[in-house]
């Protein structure tokens, strides 16, 4: 088993693929988000962070979905208070180097950029000079599948993006040009509904313009253990992310790791011991 792992590893990707726990936050509190339209209350940020660390999440993604165009000042304080030792990625409202410095000081090391990835790519370059491209991730909220894969209209309208930017080939070019290490693909409408991920069709084969992006992909939005397992077998996948389901069962991520053996993808992720 180990030999098989090393052989595959040297061909494709060096590190284990990551199982990411997502914490959507609105107005300083954790929420369960459904398609970014409807929210249910889900407790406080500090307990959520510590809980995902106890579950040995490979990475934690803290997504502020308040749409405030700024960093909520409570968030860095809450991150520091939690004192976690797990890789932490933050997304939501990052606009400038000050934002990144505040979050770095609090304990994040990677940053998801959404608005400025499209509206202000020069800012992304500034941030890459500050923290390095390996610390930046571009966010792509998408709908449709295969040839009809497209940027989520709500997002495009809200930020006044020119119509041309919605052209998939232009999106692809933008993603390739940006100094980011990975792309976070979000199944926008399916987010929150476990097992409903549909961006790549039923066989998960119709990637459309995503195959032309030369960065690794983190998938998020309506994944289940089975869907995530199949996505892990794709060489372009570097991580799979789960949000709402983390609130429903104890050791939800451990159960998902267990499901990967049924799709033949258990060797892609690590299996840390519970303590």
């Amino acid at each position: 088993m180990e030999e098989l792992y090393f052989a595959m590893c040297s061909k494709i990707i060096m590190a284990y693929k990551r199982l990411v726990g997502v914490i959507p936050v609105k107005d300083g509190r954790v929420v369960k988000s459904y398609g970014y339209k409807f929210c249910r209350p889900a407790g406080d940020v500090v307990s959520a962070l510590r809980n995902l660390e106890r579950w040995n999440a490979d990475e934690i993604l803290l997504l502020d979905i308040s749409r405030q165009a700024r960093i909520d000042p409570a968030i860095p304080m809450l991150i520091k208070k939690s004192g976690i030792a797990t890789p932490l990625t933050y997304g939501g409202g990052i606009r400038c180097t000050n934002d990144v410095n505040t979050l770095l000081a609090a304990g994040c090391e990677r940053f998801v950029l959404e608005t400025i990835a499209f509206n202000a790519p020069e800012k992304v370059k500034e941030l890459a000079d500050l923290v390095g491209a390996q610390a930046l991730i571009a966010s792509l909220p998408l709908t449709g599948f295969g040839a009809s894969l497209a940027l989520e209209q709500y997002y495009a309208k809200r930020f006044g993006l020119a119509h041309e930017v919605l052209d998939p080939s232009l999106i692809c070019r933008r993603m390739n040009e940006l100094p980011v290490s990975e792309v976070l693909v979000i199944a926008f409408n399916r987010e929150g509904y476990s097992g409903s991920f549909n961006l790549l069709g039923n066989d998960l084969c119709e990637k459309g313009f995503l195959s032309d992006i030369n960065k690794g992909i983190i998938w998020f939005g309506g994944l289940s253990g089975n869907i995530a397992g199949r996505l892990l077998n794709d060489p372009q996948t570097t991580a799979v992310a789960f949000g709402n389901s983390n609130n429903e069962k104890e050791l939800a991520l451990t159960a998902i790791r267990g499901e990967f053996s049924r799709t033949g993808s258990a060797h892609h992720v690590r299996r840390p011991l519970l303590r």
Binding site: G28, R40, P41, A48, N51, W55, A74, E248, L251, L274
Partner: protein, 411 residues
């Protein structure tokens, strides 16, 4: 640390977005609690009960087996008679009943607890913490969290789980998940299960027992030893899960309590600051000091929780509920408060100091004569077949033994 949003009330019930668990609304202004509540009439509950049977089938043993199938935490209120009936008689399981002693038991609560044991022929395991530790923890939780119930809740939520680990019992059955019932944290179809995170975030208000330890306050590791939650690898090794019956039965505490009174002879009684004669009647501090602190911290008291439940079930209108809320929230705490202060070793002035630094002060209320006939009739519709909760003016420290005055008389 939470961003302040403008105060907003649900269009149907009395909850606002100031609820300590957080509250969200849909586009019509209906809160997530009411949205989840609506599932109690829209889902197929026969199907859901069959799901429960399937879920418990893997661990259900022979009724006469000496081994327990599940751990069932219980309190001395009428609702829990219903819970034990479902688990033992309808699901055919062999439960080990556990109860964490709050040490502020009312007479009626103790009678109910013993009656459960008698009526259902079940074993009960009760844990009573030593008085020095308990007092220390109550004082510390009052200072840190403005709450006197933290030590009880910490024990009540960890003792059943530790019992399950130690005795290798694979399931802990809880009646309902409070954040789901009040603010709609989950949909019932998501079938949420017991988790350490839910306990830390909601039950323990963000403060886990390990964080209580501090050299400044003399709380040390041994004081919180019995309040810790088992480590994850222990739960996984014994394959222990915790389920909520409210995912599989449309939970109505009032209906279940009244059914228990009729079928099993459960006792109910008048409590202070509320019309509900079934809820929390086992604890003499709940509707006294705890309720006053709750109001002072959050701007609403337990009667609002009771009223929101009644509104959602269509048993009272929102306007009537608002009048009753105003009436009960302004009521005095009753004799239990002095006894509690005496037990804790705290003066009334010291308690006043706590209240003065909390944000909400009670302002005005309507008098009893201003309640309408319909409102009076609603209040009187709650069954009262036992003594008042405050009937004894001293706490019964369950399991401690005889009162010293009684001992002198015997000698």
């Amino acid at each position: 640390m939470i961003s302040i949003q403008p105060k907003r009330e649900c269009r149907q019930c009395l909850y606002t977005n100031r609820h300590p668990f957080g509250l969200h609304f849909d586009e019509t202004g209906l809160c997530t609690g009411c949205i989840t509540h609506a599932e109690k009439t829209s889902l197929n509950w026969d199907y859901r009960f069959r799901l429960l049977e399937k879920k418990t089938a893997r661990i259900r043993r022979n009724k006469h087996s000496p081994y327990y199938d599940c751990v069932l935490p219980v309190r001395g209120t009428p609702e829990y008679f219903f819970v034990v009936d479902v688990v033992k008689n309808r699901l055919g399981m062999n439960p080990l009943i556990v109860s964490y002693n709050s040490q502020f038991n009312s007479g009626i609560g103790i009678k109910n607890l013993d009656r459960i044991r008698d009526v259902f022929d079940v074993d009960i395991l009760i844990y009573t913490s030593n008085p020095v530790t308990y007092r220390k923890l109550v004082r510390e939780s009052l200072i840190r969290m403005n709450s006197i119930r933290w030590p009880y809740i910490a024990g009540e939520t960890s003792f059943p789980v530790y019992t399950a680990v130690e005795r290798d019992i694979p399931m802990v059955i809880w009646p309902y998940h409070q954040p789901t019932e009040q603010v709609g944290m989950h949909s019932y179809e998501e079938e949420p299960e017991m988790s350490r995170r839910s306990r830390a975030s909601f039950d323990l208000m963000g403060l886990e027992p390990e964080e209580m330890i501090s050299s400044e306050t003399t709380i040390n590791e041994s004081d919180v030893y019995d309040l810790r939650y088992p480590a994850h690898y222990m739960l996984k090794r014994h394959r222990i899960t915790g389920i909520y019956l409210s995912n599989y039965l449309p939970w109505d505490p009032r209906r279940f309590s009244e059914e228990s009174i009729e079928r099993f002879g459960a006792l109910s009684g008048m409590n202070s600051r509320t019309f509900d004669t079934y809820d929390r009647i086992d604890d003499m501090t709940y509707m006294t000091i705890h309720d006053l602190l709750k109001y002072a911290k959050h701007g609403y008291s337990r009667v609002t929780d009771n009223l929101c439940r009644e509104i959602r079930f269509g048993r009272i209108t929102k306007d009537d509920a608002r009048d009753l809320q105003s009436f009960y929230q302004a009521q005095a705490a009753g004799p239990g408060l002095d006894v509690f202060l005496d037990w804790l070793g705290m003066t009334n002035e010291a308690l006043d100091w706590f209240f003065k630094r909390l944000p909400y002060q009670c302002n005005g209320a309507i008098g009893a004569s201003e309640l309408s006939v319909a409102q009076h009739s609603f209040v009187n519709s709650f069954v009262r077949n036992g003594p008042d909760v405050m009937a004894n003016d001293h706490f019964i420290l369950y399991g401690k033994g005889l009162d010293c005055n009684e001992v002198i008389n015997i000698i």
